[in-house]
Amino acid sequence: MITMENVCKSYKVAKRDAGFRAACKALVHREYEAVHALNNVSFTVRDGEMVGYIGPNGAGKSSTIKILSGILTPDSGTCVIDGRVPWKNRTEHVRQIGVVFGQRSQLWWDIPVIDSFELIKEIYSISTPQYNNKLEELTQLLQLQEILKTPTRQLSLGQRMRCEVAASLLHEPRLLFLDEPTIGLDAVSKLAVRDFIKKLNEEHKTTVILTTHDMQDIEAIANRVILIGRGQILLDGTLDELRRAAVSDGNGNTDEPLDLDHVMACLYRNLNIL
């Protein structure tokens, strides 16, 4: 169970004009601008839910994920996950969560994937029988047999992403964050990752929070969507509710059903959050 209440977070960003003179001026005197990344964000997620967390670039998605995973301390507000405050007891908290960043790797580049997994086993102090069971399960579901002995740098992106997902689940977290997990993947790999996540949720009741710009990910995985824009939660409901909101607010006079990307574009424009 995740409860986030009135969480605010702002950053100070150094600001200067373009050009060499401005750069020199900035050496001596620097002007800062406060950017409100999160502004009174509140939501709750029940155990076993699969939530799509969406919004345009710079809306505050990453900041939210960082706060939930204990990397970032908010300015104000409360956040409790299964009774833990993420940033207060980091080590205990991160033991219970898994995080996949689509844009970054957590595997060691030059060694076979299985060696990375073994190191992760040590890091999380996973017992050997538990590790063996989980590894077998993940190997089957994600079809890793062929690639476990390959060094990470020689894997294709799709293969690597399957390994990344497996790596973040070895310690059997109750909560999984997926940050753009299908970015750059081909159709087959995308489907494989999506199917796997659905199965994971069915079998282990793992709570999943997914951020993505790929609306088909959302359609396939999430049964609830939270839309964030300019640091505020703007909509929280099912995908159908989102569709209706898009149509009723703006170009409501169209009869054709919009495809998902158009729904989102429409919403972003109507809500003026781009």
């Binding site: 950053y11 100070k12 900041s63 960082k66 995973s69 204990g70 990397i71 970032l72 301390t73 940033w87 980091r90 080590t91 205990e92 991160v94 033991r95 969560i97 995080v99 960043f101 970054r104 957590q106 060691w108 580049w109 030059d110 060694i111 060696d115 073994e118 190191l119 040590e122 890091i123 999380y124 102090s125 060094p151």
Partner: protein
């Protein structure tokens, strides 16, 4: 009991990390060899430089060739040890820029352990070979009468020096949290000290000696215990001066902690 178990587990984990670094480096066989040989040659050059210098002089400020060689090898050994173990701090600014520190915070173990474990650098065995060779020559040619106390002092000096340099690397890494800009000013304090520290610090005069005592305490592992080791003073307490470096290390650690705290409240 709990603490001992935790330390034991940390050591095991560190060795796991280190073994991965070694295996990764060995993936590139030729570069692995060249790295070790190259670093050996660079370090050996400095030894040659001292040898040449002393072909013109008998002594510098009362230090004989053997004395300087001993001093050189102690500093070399300390520095190499600190690079071997503390290399993670040296490459830390890159980790911050790439956002790798986020992943470190997502692991349920100490960030420092992960940073130094993940960048254990086996290539440093090259300079280590030089350091061992010069140490042996230094021990045999200097004016010290070697007994248990002398060897104890020597070990304390090397350990203290390694901790001091690790502290400086940690300080440099800690500063990365506050500024994404270049913190290479800290290199003056590490590489600079390594290359000038091959001579006992008093050859540079009083001002430098003071700086190296009260600002960055190099003299605690180099000049002062060396005086005792070479028998220039009978004050045996000088042999324990390297222990003072623990205080300096604690200060560097404090800066590091403040930096981590700052990172968590500001983001990257």
């Amino acid at each position: 009991m709990g603490i001992i178990m935790r330390i034991w587990k940390s050591i095991i984990l560190y060795l796991r990390y280190a073994s991965i670094c070694v295996r990764s480096a060995m993936q590139y066989k030729l570069s692995f060899l060249l790295m070790i040989i190259g670093r050996f040659i660079i370090a050996f050059n400095e030894f040659i430089a001292i040898k040449f210098l002393f072909s013109g002089f008998e002594e510098i400020k009362g230090y004989s060739y053997g004395d300087v060689l001993l001093c050189f090898s102690i500093v070399q050994m300390s520095f190499t040890l600190s690079e071997l173990f503390g290399n993670g701090f040296k490459v830390f600014s890159g980790m911050i820029k790439r956002g790798d520190f986020d992943r470190i915070l997502l692991r349920p173990c100490s960030p420092i352990l992960q940073i130094i474990g993940n960048h254990f650098e086996i290539g440093r065995t090259g300079p280590m070979i030089t350091a061992v060779i010069t140490l042996v020559i230094g021990i045999r040619t200097c004016s010290v009468s070697w007994n248990a106390a002398a060897f104890f002092t020597l070990a304390l000096m090397i350990a203290g020096g390694a901790l001091l340099f690790i502290g400086l690397f940690m300080l440099g890494a800690g500063l990365c949290f506050f500024s994404i800009e270049d913190t290479s000013i800290i290199n003056v304090l590490t590489y600079g000290a390594k290359s000038h520290g091959k001579y006992p610090i008093d050859v540079y005069g009083r001002g430098i000696l003071r700086f190296c005592t009260y600002i960055i305490p190099y003299t605690l592992f180099q000049y002062y215990p060396l005086q005792y080791l070479l028998g220039r003073t009978t004050q045996w307490r000088l042999a324990f001066y390297p222990l003072g470096i623990v205080v300096f290390l604690a200060l560097c650690y404090a800066v590091w902690r403040i930096g981590v705290h700052n990172y968590k409240s500001c983001g990257a």
